[in-house]
């Protein structure tokens, strides 16, 4: 179906189901229970899962396939965001022109940076991309303030021209009237499920982005990209010019980043310079490796994983902890709180750092490999079990040996 092989169709189907039913899946706990803290089914976080999923899928097309490790992709995300907000400022709150410009600008910007950076490989390439991105961030934060509004971030003022904004259109990014921040809530017993227009808008893009990624992975072009990673020498002596292949992968991933940046701005029309900082570039690298570089679903998992920790664990404070352990005798309650305290709230970084280490030590293929190991336990037979991701993960391990 859709020009995909059976197992890819299955994977796509799973992704579609998961994204469509995310408001249910991410809110498994009743709103009034202590575990509601772990619910992630509110619009902002769901949107972030999806948007950073798109970002990571795109990054994986470059890094997972060609092995070129860019430390500057956040710059393209930032360019996408700034472009989108400028469209809101100049034209109207309609997201279509904003997203189109975001993707185009990010594509142009990545073509320029890619053209220069791809003259080098390995760590030299990584440092070149890092240098370009840090330059962009430093300039955006200060010197380019007239364009980027610097420290505060680019936002929309009532005094902005908005030449095409009609009087009756929502004054929030919208798709022909359907505002991204409108939502409806379903109450079911003590469960609540929120369906947000913005989330489903992003979800459609995630599904399309994922589908496109599958097509690229399974195309001759994708095979060539993997060949670049495997042996550039052989590529050259097989009559293949590696430069346009890597540049195409770079620009495609840059455009994915631009789309993600545009969507971020569409969900929340403020573009902060920090989203271009090297730590933001590092984050997408971590997402991809954590989930499983070179696998299809891995980057999405990695993105979800990191964003979940950032948004859920950071909010668990001592007050919440005491709430959980209130049923215990006082002494034990305090002890439990004291034990967990360093890992949550302001200590969420610690938990994240530990998880990075644990995953990479015990699951060399990333979270996808963890899933496979689980799957193997349940299926016993490893015959057809390989599933879609087995190949990539296996390759990784073999390369590592």
């Amino acid at each position: 179906m859709f020009g995909l092989e059976k197992r890819d169709t299955l994977l796509l189907g799973v992704v579609i189901l998961l994204t469509l039913f995310a408001p249910f899946i991410l809110n498994p706990f009743p709103a009034d229970s202590g575990l509601a803290q772990f619910n992630a089914g509110y619009p902002d976080l769901m949107q972030r899962f999806v948007i950073f999923g798109i970002f990571a899928i795109g990054f994986n097309i470059l890094f997972g396939l060609t092995g070129y490790l860019s430390f500057g992709h956040a710059a393209f995300l930032g360019v996408g965001s700034y472009s989108a907000v400028w469209m809101f400022k100049l034209l109207s709150y309609n997201v279509v022109p904003a997203l189109v410009l975001a993707v185009i600008m990010a594509g142009l910007f990545s073509a320029l940076i890619g053209f220069i950076s791809l003259r080098r490989s390995g760590i030299y390439f990584s440092i070149l991309t890092l240098a370009f991105a840090q330059m962009s961030f430093n300039l955006a934060y200060s010197v380019l303030t007239p364009i980027t509004n610097g420290e505060t971030g680019l936002q929309i003022y009532t005094s902005d021209p908005q030449y095409l904004q009609s009087v009756d259109a929502p004054s929030f990014p919208n798709l022909f009237g359907a505002a991204m921040n409108s939502s409806t809530t379903l109450f079911f017993g003590s469960w609540t499920f929120t369906f947000s227009v913005g989330y489903y808008f992003c979800a459609v893009f995630l599904i399309l982005a994922f589908y496109l990624a599958i097509r690229i992975f399974r195309s001759p072009f994708g095979m060539m990209l993997r060949a670049v990673k495997s042996n550039q020498q052989r590529m050259n002596y097989t009559g293949l010019n590696t430069r346009p292949y890597t540049l195409a992968a770079f620009v495609i991933s840059g455009m994915y980043a631009g789309l993600a940046g545009g969507l971020l701005a569409a969900m929340d029309p403020l573009a902060g310079a920090e989203r271009m900082q090297w730590t933001a570039s590092g984050e997408v690298v971590l997402m991809t490796i954590l989930g499983g570089a070179g696998t299809l679903i891995g980057p999405v998992l990695g993105a979800g994983f990191i964003k979940y920790f950032e948004n859920i664990f950071a909010k668990i404070n001592d007050n919440v902890l005491h709430g959980w352990f209130a049923f215990m005798p006082d002494g034990i309650e305090d002890a439990m709180v004291a034990i967990i305290h360093p890992f949550v709230g302001k200590g969420w970084h610690l938990t994240l750092g530990l998880l990075f280490m644990l995953v990479v030590i015990f699951l060399p293929g990333g979270l996808v490999e963890g899933g496979q190991r689980l799957g193997r336990v349940f299926r016993r037979k490893d015959s057809n079990a390989g599933s879609v991701e087995a190949d990539a993960a296996k390759q990784r391990n073999e390369a590592a040996e």
Binding site: F63, G67, L69, I116, R119, R120, S121, G122, I123, Y124, I127, L128, L130, A131, F132, Q134, M135, N138, L139, S142, V143, W278, T279, G282, V285, L286, I289, L290, A293, P342, G347, H349, L350, L352, G353, L354, L355, F356, M357, V359, V360, I361, P364, R396, A399, A400, E401
Partner: protein, 342 residues
């Protein structure tokens, strides 16, 4: 002219810090082939060795002084450091005053130990893993290390002054026969001297000892050295310890220059990678050269005369230089073919 001289002087000082940090990083690259994102954290831990020793030396007995009040109006608890009780107030105070230089002695075993444990416990298992995995695991480690420091020392910078005798600055102008001032802080001069000595020591160690020779051979061709039946693993462990110690010492002496805080390692991480790569992967002289070059150019770019020509150049100078050098010289200033190019 004197302004340029002053910035060159300043650049040498900054550059010595960059070179020192980059040296350890490139040693690890060159010998072990590991991309160590935790290197900045080692620098940070070094700085916190200074803080820790300062804290240890100021461990105090508390006596209640009824005549003074604390901020709540309760009797003030007066703290007297144990060392002052043991050695008398004056000797005690001067021991505390000298806590940063003393921390060098304290930091060497600590950093070597941390280096050994890191290498044996973690890094060793990642020699043959892809660079991506190395990045993830060392980045995770860096976060853990800095969060642990934050847990014990808080997020605020902690003032760690240099000994009283190094307060103030030295004026080079009379020496050079200039009539304006060319003042430079004593402690920064000490730092410059210290870095030079450490860098020279590392080079001498690699150049003139059998151990160093094997390591250099290992950097050039790891497999062959392994085939010679030399226990390269043990040497690599020691090498990692030394690299950690070099980073740590850079941090110890840096503490008085800027009050240490738990994320100072991350601030230096990107910069030290740029320095190493501009110098050329795995090249020790390259790292030192690049450190000084970037230090001087950064200092010159911060001059108002230059900023008025190119607005905001000091924001991006390091990166511009890195890009230009990498485009002109594919493997940095002194890099060798084939190192970390995949």
């Amino acid at each position: 002219m004197d302004a340029v001289l002053l910035q060159i002087l300043n650049g040498l000082d900054k550059g010595s810090a960059y070179a020192l940090i980059a040296l350890g990083l490139t040693l690890i690259f060159g010998t072990l082939g590991v991309v160590n994102f935790a290197h900045g954290a080692l620098f940070m831990i070094g700085a916190f060795c200074s803080v820790t020793l300062q804290r240890l030396l100021t461990l105090s007995v508390e006596t209640i002084d009824e005549t003074q009040k604390d901020f709540l109006g309760n009797p003030l608890k007066v703290k007297t450091p144990y060392v002052e009780n043991w050695f008398g107030p004056e000797v005690g105070a001067s021991i505390i005053d000298w806590s940063v230089p003393l921390a060098i002695l304290f930091a060497i075993p600590v950093m070597l130990f941390i280096g050994f444990v890191m290498e044996r416990g973690l890094i060793k298992h990642f020699y043959k893993r892809p660079h991506a995995d190395q990045i993830l695991v060392t980045f995770g480690l860096a976060i853990v290390l800095q969060e642990v420091v934050k847990y014990f020392y808080g997020a605020n910078p902690i003032p760690t002054p240099a000994p009283e005798v190094f307060k103030g600055s030295f004026d080079f102008a009379p020496l050079l026969g200039l009539d304006t001032s060319l003042a430079y802080p004593y402690w920064r001069l000490v730092y410059f001297g210290f870095s030079t000595v450490i860098i020279a020591a590392v080079f001498a160690f690699l150049q003139f000892t059998t151990f160093g020779m094997v390591v250099r051979a290992g950097m050039a061709d790891r497999e062959t050295v392994g085939l010679l039946g030399i226990d390269i693993d043990r040497r690599f462990t020691i090498m990692f310890g030394i690299a950690a110690a070099v980073a740590g010492l850079a941090g110890v002496m840096y503490a008085p220059i800027n009050s240490p805080n738990y994320h100072m390692g991350m601030d230096f991480l990107v910069l030290s990678f740029v320095v190493v790569v501009v110098g050329g992967m795995g090249s020790l002289p390259g790292a030192v050269l690049a450190g000084f070059l970037l230090g001087i150019l950064e200092s010159l770019a911060s001059m108002n005369e230059i900023k008025s020509i190119i607005y905001g150049i000091d924001q991006i100078i390091i990166y511009v230089v890195a890009i230009v050098i990498l485009l002109v010289r594919p493997r940095g200033l002194m890099g060798r073919r084939g190192v970390m190019e995949e």
